[in-house]
Subunit: 431 residues, 2 copies
């Protein structure tokens, strides 16, 4: 369905961070055959790698999880912005791809994705114009954006009015949480926006949307009550809109779900209405998972999902950033060649997990429990450790990360590796 | 001196964030002629722009400042990683370019820079091999890296031994601060490393280096005492190394200086030795300056630099990120289409400075003092304001940033604009 040829034939060279410094330019399709070894030092550090085995496991895990709960998945593409990974997600059964803005929509369409949810409000001359053009150029494109105010609707109608449109735009009314981000805060506001959309000449109402992710704290009782309350509000508005005949399409979309508590959404969001309901999760971070925030949240997902999911191996951290000890300038401190340009630091610092000492180790070793990344500058990380567990200048250190989104966007290409850290390919990102 | 043709002929298209969504692909050299208007909505938001007038002012300011103090400048290229800006810096009189790693060195060499300081330790098979190759391929390349341990020297010598080298590598011994980052902590350590380098078959000693930037707090008395102490330590080691004949080159490099207190370095670092001394600042952030941390630090620079520099306009914030109000979901809160993927958040949140209301404003307006970006998610910012100064859905908001480095690395291309926010070109980054 997707066409990745333009990516696979794209040439990479040492202008791309992580690419071997003295290798000639190669198309991405030729990289696997080089058999570059991260551990042998074939690639410069820092280096972000994706472990193939963990990535494949996560695709299968999420496919099985959504299949077992009967919900659909439109994974948030903003996490990776990597069409190669979108193709894997669609091949694993995803209904479509979620994006955060129209530039990301354009990339999806370019590479062949034909079902896209934009989990954001559509606004702006460039943006509205591009969406209409894409819909006209691609009659098979199904695209839904969010709307949460009548001001937004008025703005879109003004921009759409002079344009030829062979079909309406389609929108999901967003419900929000007081103190939260976007989304109508009350039943009355949401219903009023839905009524206005239903009466619009340019926009049709295709469903409802909300996002619980920012409210998830890892306290299962509290999280379940919060999500249940939000889902109930979606149900109340959905029933009213359905009764009024506001929903225009052959089916009705209800969508929610990040990567922290998608199990609760999958349980509480589905409902019956007068037309078929498509319940769509939008989890994005599951695909590489992480070694921090999402790894902690997964414990709740598993605990709530019954014995079968507790005994089965959960999502695996697939994304690692490797760097080198460049200096051990005083007791208890090592400086690594990795910084804020290379690894997430927005939720917490990277998590040191593996060490490889060239000339001594044959495989990566687990790091001592005392090793902690305490801080990062633009290009450096500060590794603290207890005296008897000191690294050495030249050691390689592999870190897990917390929050995949803010690591992916630091790399134009991430290399995929096998379990021996030999490069098997490159994943191009588009940020 | 530099060759930017490969960049100017590179095609950009809507796969690049910020590029007009419905424009055909264009070479960078053709972008200015399009006369795209940010305020008219020709480009999608969020959008990072560099104001030409402020950038030109900053180049001239720093040229005049370094000329007036007699020091040289090798601006840190890691800030922008933009060869087009490197070329402007060299044209404005910079001695060379500083980089953070060998990948960045390779980019400099590719585009024609021939004097490079790597303000970091050199280590690793890929990295050492690439440096030797670049030196052999470019006899006119002058490259200096940092060294702060004998372990590092042993590692380099082992990697260099089997390679053909028509000249030695050249290194600056790094002095560090207790509790700081890299660098030898004591006179004895620094002197011992310098002695080992001077005796090395592969590496020659070209000078000394330190970095005061992380210790600058904006308290002038304290900052001056700290920098003076560090410079004194550099002088002590430099005198001893000079006396012993450790410095191998025709001149001796002494280098320090970020963008927070470069005036103190320019005053305190110069010294006389038995050979000509090149005193080299490495400030990077000055080039676009910012609206946060560095803007505050500039007050100290000006206050310490005498009446002429106090009366003259200082560095100007050249870098802005524009986004749109996508939702005003509750009193006092607006959500903007800009997030952690688009603007720095590591030192502080972006600083709202300008508002443009399409259809109402003819030029950008100053924003009310109450407007503050309180938080960002991956793709959203939370703008707080007092009730009587509310923005509207659809408004454009222009934010200054704090810390240029962590905004540049979020954009593959930044558009340059004139004072009416018409696009005059694109600056390619290489992260």
């Amino acid at each position: 369905m997707m066409n990745l040829d333009p990516i696979l034939s794209e040439m990479l060279d040492p202008a791309t961070k992580g690419y071997p410094l003295s290798s000639r330019a190669l198309p991405i399709s030729a990289i696997a055959a080089q058999r570059w070894s991260v551990l042998a030092g074939d690639l410069p550090l820092p280096l972000a790698v994706i472990r193939d085995s963990a990535l494949a496991h996560n695709h299968a895990w999420m496919r099985d999880f959504t299949a077992s709960t009967g919900v659909l998945l439109a994974p948030h593409g903003k996490t990776t912005m990597a069409p190669q990974i979108f193709a894997q997600q669609l091949a694993a059964g995803a209904w479509g791809i979620t994006v955060a803005n129209v530039q990301q929509l354009g990339l999806c369409v370019r590479f062949g994705v034909r079902r896209v949810i934009m989990a954001n409000q559509l606004l702006g001359a460039a943006e509205v114009g591009a969406v209409i053009r894409l819909q006209e150029e691609h009659p098979d494109l199904e695209f839904h954006f969010l709307i949460d105010s009548q001001a937004q609707l008025v703005s879109i109608e003004k921009l759409a009015a002079p344009r030829k449109m062979s079909r309406k735009l389609t929108a999901l009314v967003e419900l929000g949480v007081p103190g939260g981000r976007t989304g109508a805060r009350t039943y009355d506001e949401a219903f009023a926006v839905a009524r206005a959309v239903a009466a619009s000449r340019s926009v049709a109402l295709s469903g409802l949307e909300c996002y619980e992710g920012l409210q998830i704290k890892g306290d299962s009782d509290r999280d379940q009550a919060m999500v249940a309350g939000l889902m109930q509000r979606v149900h109340d508005v959905a029933l009213a809109c359905d009764r009024e005949g506001f929903f225009a399409g052959p089916s009705i979309i209800l969508s929610a779900g990040g990567s922290a508590a998608f199990d609760i959404v999958a349980r509480d969001l589905p409902m019956n209405l007068s037309k078929p309901v498509l319940t769509i999760l939008r989890s994005g971070c599951y695909v590489t998972h992480d070694s921090g925030f999402y790894n902690r949240m997964l414990e709740g997902v598993k605990a709530r999902s019954g014995a079968a999911w507790q005994s089965r191996p959960g999502l695996q951290p697939a994304l690692e950033v490797w760097s080198r000890v460049q200096s051990c300038p005083e007791p208890g401190l090592a400086i690594l060649t990795m910084g804020k340009r290379d690894a997430s630091f927005d939720l917490e610092m990277p998590i040191a997990r593996k060490r490889y000492r060239p000339g001594t180790d044959t495989t990566p070793q687990s790091v001592p429990a005392s090793w902690k990344i305490a801080n990062m500058n633009d290009q450096h990380a500060y590794l603290r450790f207890s005296a008897e567990e000191a690294p050495q200048v030249g050691d390689l250190v592999g870190c897990g990360i917390s929050h995949p989104c803010t690591t992916f966007d630091k790399w134009r290409a991430l290399f995929t590796v096998d379990d021996e850290y030999r490069v098997t390919g490159a994943i191009r990102t588009f940020f």
